[in-house]
Amino acid sequence: MLRIDRATYDAIVAHAREDHPDEACGVVAGPEGSDRPERFIPMLNAARSPTFYEFDSGDLLKLYREMDDRDEEPVVIYHSHTATEAHPSRTDISYASEPNAHYVLVSTRQHEKQTGLAGDDVEFRSFRIVDGEVSEEEVEIVESYLFGHSPTTVVYD
């Protein structure tokens, strides 16, 4: 299961909307082994394409070096599909090489600017991709990670 805070979820969706009709991409880094996506890092799609995305090679090196210095890893790797469903494509699967990461797919095919309709919707789904095998997982949105690792709930004694 992917547990992600509301602000980060919203930031990913906003990035996907903004870059539409090109694919948007990025990472949410977190402390190694924590499985907590904490640091939202939008990346430039060097391919600038509606059907492909790729981190620029220089940006990629800088990103990994920075995460290394901070003892972080990519907890979430996200990108958008702009005309198809939010499910990993064959190309996505062939490139996927972070078995510990949550691969988040966002689809902007139904978002407002695409359809011109009021019924605005952006799909947000999460997958594991290990050895070419894709498995979808639940997404839980928590209000904040600030007060511990669990959703902020009010408990009345």
Binding site: C25, V27, M43, A47, T51, F52, Y53, E54, F55, S57, G58, L60, L61, Y64, E73, I77, H79, P88, S89, R90, T91, D92, S94, Y95, A96, S97, E98, P99, N100
Partner: protein
């Protein structure tokens, strides 16, 4: 002195979990052969059957992407630092 090579998570199964390994060679290709002799299977993950670097990996010698410096023919020497990263890409 040797050449330090940083290994990404996905390839650490070949290096006993180590993040960095050391090797030697005059070119990146020779270095990869040397690494493969100590960490069998590594070369297969980096180099295609046609002898070219896989498009799924990025290799840097001292921060320079080797795609722009001659790929496997890139010159390396003791003290250089090599970083291997999986490309983050898709469709």
């Amino acid at each position: 002195m040797a050449i330090e090579v940083r290994i990404p998570t996905i390839l650490r199964t070949h290096t006993g979990g180590n993040k960095t390994v050391e090797g030697s060679g005059d070119t990146l290709g020779a270095l990869v052969d040397d690494l493969d002799s100590k960490h069998p299977g590594l070369k297969n993950r980096l180099v295609t059957e046609e002898g070219k670097l896989h498009r799924f990996v990025n290799v840097y010698v001292n921060d320079e992407d080797v795609r722009f410096t001659g790929a496997l023919d890139t010159q390396v020497k003791d003290g250089d630092s090599v970083t291997i990263l999986p490309a983050v890409a898709g469709g």
